[in-house]
Symmetry: C2
Amino acid sequence: MISLAELQHRIDAGDLSTEAALAQSLEAINAKDKAIGAFVCHADHLRATNAGPLRGIAVGIKDIMDTAEFPTEMGSPIYRGYRSRGDAAVVMMLKQAGATIAGKTTTTAFASVDPTPTLNPHNHGHTPGGSSSGSAAAVAAGMIPLALGTQTGGSVIRPASFCGVAAIKPSYRLLPTVGVKCYSWTLDTVGLFAAGVDDVARALSAMTGRPELLLPSDIPTPRIGVVTQDFAGAPDTSGAEALQIATRAAEKAGASVRTLKLPEIVADAWSAQAVVQEFEAHRALAWEYREHHDAMAPLLRAKLDETRDTTPAAYDAAVATAHRARQALETVFDDVDVLLALSAPGAAPQGLASTGDARYNRLWTLMGVPCVNVPAVVAEGNLPVGVQLIARYGADAGALAAARFVEQALGR
Amino acid sequence: MISLAELQHRIDAGDLSTEAALAQSLEAINAKDKAIGAFVCHADHLRATNAGPLRGIAVGIKDIMDTAEFPTEMGSPIYRGYRSRGDAAVVMMLKQAGATIAGKTTTTAFASVDPTPTLNPHNHGHTPGGSSSGSAAAVAAGMIPLALGTQTGGSVIRPASFCGVAAIKPSYRLLPTVGVKCYSWTLDTVGLFAAGVDDVARALSAMTGRPELLLPSDIPTPRIGVVTQDFAGAPDTSGAEALQIATRAAEKAGASVRTLKLPEIVADAWSAQAVVQEFEAHRALAWEYREHHDAMAPLLRAKLDETRDTTPAAYDAAVATAHRARQALETVFDDVDVLLALSAPGAAPQGLASTGDARYNRLWTLMGVPCVNVPAVVAEGNLPVGVQLIARYGADAGALAAARFVEQALGR
């Protein structure tokens, strides 16, 4: 993989020109993407900027985000050739930090569940996960040092886990969703993929102009609460192993680790997430669903068909549950700095029929709290499995630092 | 003005065809809009639907909302001829309720403060207010029974007050902003304009599929707290008179009325609103501001130039203040059902150099609470002045019922 931090060091030291850094990415895309299919389209030439912390950094943008220079096709024939007027806010944040947009990465249709043709770089017989399939795969394959995705259920953390890359789903609205195709306004969250936790932190700090998001030189030893989310069902063997190994590594590195049971209302919120998601999707995608029903991706269409009778009262109840659960979750963080949890049930499933299961992610998206994926083990078939560090709402720096702690602990 | 409720009654009774109802609006637009300038564009022919509570209702859509059948020009040359792919969520909600889109109404550039050429129907020498200038004026001039606008500072309630129409800025995200050009994601709120409170309630209920938003046949007598928002400065004579007359009318009609002082933190939130608004605008409009600086409307550009150095820390502090103020405001509603406040400092200012002042609206937009404008008096120059009824977050039905109570009290 291409380390963003290393590129920054070499560019700062004058050992690497920004043009050469970008050319390296473009070469990698040209060499590797035919086999992986991570990009919908990319530039033939990448133009460097001379200023900003992300100068020389080539970024892949999930194809539900507006870009003036590339079509934005939403993974759907309904948007074939669609050109937005202007760039999404997060794309402009990247540009203002000096980054160069390499191209658009594959997305399941409207960031839902119908798979893209993208392959998992670690094992071509497996899904890279979704919905941010191309962004996770492009970073994992070493094509680009940074990519943007979005998570509504589990679309950042799950593909990061399947592809063995670091990723953050930041606190709700730390990154704006302006110019990003909406599926659910309560849930949609822009996230970042990069080689390691330090790379992710550098990118998020640069985009937001928040130096406090950079990792401290001394990573503090976190108090960790391990949560298994039993209400979401049992994990696969590889998932259980990843959580166990990460837990032991953190303990061995000196962290205080305890198992936590989440308050009952938080488990209720897990069930409420799907109600919020699909009720809002019916409104956000009303034009597509009503005017282009036949052209909708089949799994998404079936999901919308199934949920079309959800009442405002059911939605209101789900929103109220989420509100109470957020308050209850706040108190959990009085005793621990972060939670350690599964990023996915296990390694990437075989084949491309499914992008995997978001059941260990849904709750955290609804809670709006920062989640950082760290690759923990490599399972059978050369398939990575990650764990996620979860912090209090707004404590993105804490989530990143704890993730770095676990990443280092696992590397020992 | 055209009453939506009356159209519904006549259509339901078979006394009026939906085609005839729409033709009446189109005729009125053709007869009146040359003088007023409320529409950017409108259909030459309006096609009726046969089902839905809003069948036969012609609606004006603020020109920052996506419409597949009309350009969406954002009040700015930067979007000249721009065609969205698809309809905004609220446009689809109207269509699914049977309404017919009449056309696009004028908006200040990106719903900011640079005036449109629209005139106040009550006095052509005065502004109709903004930023939803065309929507307020089109309803006030009797061209259409319903129009959509948005409020980020005071862009629904203020023009409603200046134009003498009823309007609601509902609870935050009761109406989705998907497909509506963003200025500030924390503040932008879609609202409705119609002839009277009952008309507004019927439209909001139909769009959302929430029968509980319809007015009850017996309007309950509300407990009213009058707030003057002294932290926002003193009103004009006409504003003070409107509040006084509305207060007296409500009292005379049997309401319990008392003067309330808002908690200190709520006054702080009033100052915080501008910080939230402009910080987010710099991100939401980054592409326009950076790539089309010279083509930006001058007052908006100057405002963005002035505020470009607002730090994330200042923004975070403003957001935290808003959060605490929302909690404090909740407790105010333990003792009263609604607040009664000024909708604007007074009658519409003379000329078209300014769309007026949002200082009595900013706080409520940031609080996310429902506000309903009711015309209260007619000041010198035939200019209407309104007051607003404000309820607890989520109590839109209560805000509408109290507004109807005051509307009836004033009509006696």
